[in-house]
Symmetry: C2
Subunit: 342 residues, 2 copies
C-alpha cells in the first residue's frame, strides 16, 4: 500500500498504533500538533515541529525568504498558542541546495528571528544539510505551560458553544490572488488577504488569555481548515458539532476576492485552512465573558459559530435557511498525501 492511499491522518494513526503506549510523563504524544511533556509538577514542556517544503508549501517565485521565515515561525508559534503556552526556544533544520545564495539564508533567519522574538522565543540551534533540489525547512519550537493553563482538544462538552477568533478564509483568498493576480479588487483588500496568507499572525496572547481564564474547555488552531479542525476537537472529545454557517466570520476583503474569482467564500472559510485563528469551546455562560475579555485585553474580535452536540449526532453545518448538511468525517481540509492544491 502506498502512503497516499492511507492519507496523512491515517499514516499518523498507523504510526501511533505500532508504538508502545508512552510513559505517564508524556501528557500528550503522537497525534496532536504539540507534545506535552511533564518536566515537573508545576510546569509542562511543549514541543512541536512544522516543515515547509519547496514546491509543496511554498514557491520561491511567490514568497520572499524573509516572509518564509516569518511564516514558518508563525505556524509553530500558533501551535504553542493553541495549547495556551509560551514559546521559548527554536531549533531550525535546513536542507539547502549548494548553489543557494547566502542572502537567502540571511533573510530567512531575519524573518524567523523577528516572528519568534515577538513571541518571546529565541533560536538556539539546529542543523544544516545539503539537498539536491527542493529546500526543506523544519522548525522545532519548544515552549512551556503550567498544568492549570494547558488547554487540549479533548475537553469539549456537549452543550458548549463553539467560538473562533478573527476571520476565516482570508488566507485562502490571499492564495487565490497570488495565483490569479489579474483579479480586480481594491488594493487594501488585496494587501490584507495576501499578507494573511504569506505572513499569518499567530494568536499567542489570545491563547494565553484563554488558558488563564479557566473558562475554556477545548482549543485548537485553524491550520487545516475549520471543518477539519473542529473534527479534531470532536474526535478527541467524543462529541459532535453543529456549525452555524451564517455566524462564521468572513472579512469583506475575502468576500470581495471570492466575488471577483467567481468562487464560494463560505467554502474558503470552512475548508481553506492556514488562517491560524484559534477555535475553542466553552459553556454558554462563560462565552459572553470570554468575548468581552478577549476584546478588552487583546482587541481581537471573537465569534460564536456553533455548538457542541452529542457524538451520535455527528458534525453538521446549519445553513441560514435552516437546512442541515452532514459533514462526512475527514472529507474536507488539507491532507498532505491525498490533497492537491486546487
Amino acid at each position: 500500500m502506498q502512503i497516499s492511499q492511507l492519507g496523512e491522518f491515517g499514516l499518523i494513526q498507523r504510526i501511533k498504533n505500532a508504538l508502545p503506549h508512552p510513559p505517564a510523563e508524556v501528557i500528550v504524544g503522537i497525534g496532536d500538533d504539540v507534545a506535552v511533556l511533564k518536566v515537573s509538577d508545576s510546569e509542562y514542556l511543549l514541543a512541536t515541529c512544522d516543515v515547509q517544503v519547496e514546491n509543496v508549501h511554498f514557491s520561491r517565485s511567490v514568497i520572499s525568504p524573509y516572509q518564509l521565515g516569518r511564516r514558518i515561525a508563525a505556524i509553530n508559534v500558533s501551535d504553542i498558542a493553541a495549547m495556551a503556552g509560551a514559546p521559548l526556544w527554536a531549533l531550525v533544520s535546513l536542507t539547502l541546495p549548494r548553489e543557494l545564495e547566502t542572502d537567502f539564508v540571511d533573510a530567512l533567519y531575519e524573518g524567523m528571528h523577528e516572528q519568534l522574538n515577538l513571541a518571546g522565543a529565541v533560536i538556539v540551534g539546529g542543523n544544516l544539510s545539503r539537498i539536491e533540489k527542493d529546500i526543506v525547512i523544519d522548525l522545532c519550537l519548544l515552549g512551556k505551560v503550567t498544568p492549570d493553563n494547558l488547554l487540549l482538544r479533548s475537553g469539549a462538552c456537549k452543550g458548549d458553544l463553539i467560538l473562533v477568533t478573527g476571520w476565516l478564509g482570508d488566507s485562502r483568498a490571499g492564495l487565490e490572488l497570488i495565483r490569479r493576480p489579474e483579479l480586480i479588487i481594491s488594493e487594501n483588500s488585496r494587501k490584507q488577504v495576501v499578507q494573511r496568507h504569506l505572513t499569518p499572525q499567530p494568536r499567542l496572547r489570545e491563547g494565553q488569555e484563554l488558558g488563564s481564564s479557566a473558562l475554556v474547555h477545548s482549543l485548537v488552531d485553524v491550520s487545516d481548515g475549520l471543518i477539519s479542525d473542529i473534527g479534531h476537537i470532536c474526535r478527541a472529545s467524543r462529541v459532535g458539532a453543529e456549525i452555524w454557517l451564517g455566524n462564521v466570520p468572513i472579512s469583506s476583503a475575502a468576500r470581495e476576492t471570492a466575488h471577483a474569482a467567481g468562487q464560494d467564500v463560505s467554502a474558503w472559510a470552512l475548508a481553506g485552512g492556514e488562517d491560524y485563528e484559534l477555535l475553542f469551546t466553552a459553556s454558554p455562560d462563560a462565552s459572553a465573558e470570554i468575548l468581552s475579555l478577549l476584546e478588552e485585553r487583546t482587541g481581537t474580535p471573537c465569534s460564536v459559530i456553533g455548538r457542541v452536540v452529542d457524538e451520535a449526532e455527528g458534525t453538521h453545518l446549519l445553513l441560514e435557511n435552516g437546512t442541515k448538511m452532514a459533514l462526512p468525517e475527514g472529507s474536507v481540509g488539507w491532507d498532505h498525501f491525498t490533497s492537491a492544491r486546487p
Copy 2:
C-alpha cells in the same frame, strides 16, 4: 555569494553573528551540536536535531528503512551522549514522496523506536509532509543533564591528555565495502565495518560515566572526523592539540579493508567520520582512572591519543618517526556544502 563558497561551518558562524546574543538561560546555543537550556537550577534541557537526506546521506538501495531508522536515532543519541546527558523525547519530521510504501514507514519507525528505546527515549510527536523527490528525515531529540554532569567542548586545558573510546575508521571502511563489494576480506571483518557504518552504536553509558566521574574537562563525539572534531574542542577551549598517530585506535577489520582497497587506513581514522565514538580530554593524573573506570563499568576500551597544547602551537599530528605535521584548521572532515563523497 553561494553557500558552497562559505561552507557549512562558515554559514553557521554567519547565522550566529547575525542573531542577538541569547539570554542567560541559553547555556549553549547556536554553533554546538546540542543546545543546553536551563529549565531549573538542578536540571538542564538538551535539544539536538539531525537530518538524513536521501541521495546525500543515504541511498535506499544500500540501507534498509529499519537500518535508516536506527542510524538517525543513533546519531542523535550520540549528540546527547557527548553532553553526558540522558535522552528523553523525540520528534520526527518526515517529508515523503506520495508513492512511498507504508512498509517503508513502518520499518523506519521500528528502527527509530528500537534504538531510542535502548537509550531510554520515546517518540512523542513530529510532522508528516509530502515532497516531490528525496526523502528527508529530521529527528529532534530532547534530553536532560544535571549542571554538575554536563560536559562541553570548551573545557580542555593545556596539559590534558586526549582520549577516545573504541576504534576510529570502521565507519569509513564500511562505506568503502558498500561502494566496492567486490573487495576480498573476511566475512567477519566485512560484517563488522558495514554494521558500524549503517547502524553505529552511540556511546551513551560511556558519556554518562564520563559526566558523573567529574574527571573530564571536555567532550565531543566523533561525527565529522577526528581531526575536525578535535578542532571543535580546540576552538571552543582556545587550545592547540597534538595527535599521536601511532596511538589512534584502528581495528584489524578496518586495516584489512584499507589494505584490500589499496587505501591509507590512517586517513580513514583521522578524517573518515561517522564513528560516533567519544573524544575527550582530562588531566594526565585522571586519565588512568578514567581508562579503568570505563573498561570496568562499560567494557569499552579507551585510548590515549594525544595531548592538549598551547593555542599558539596549533593542531598537529605526531608521526611514529617523530615527524610533526601541522593540520590546517578546518581542512579535514565533512562539510555539507563543500565536501563531496570521495
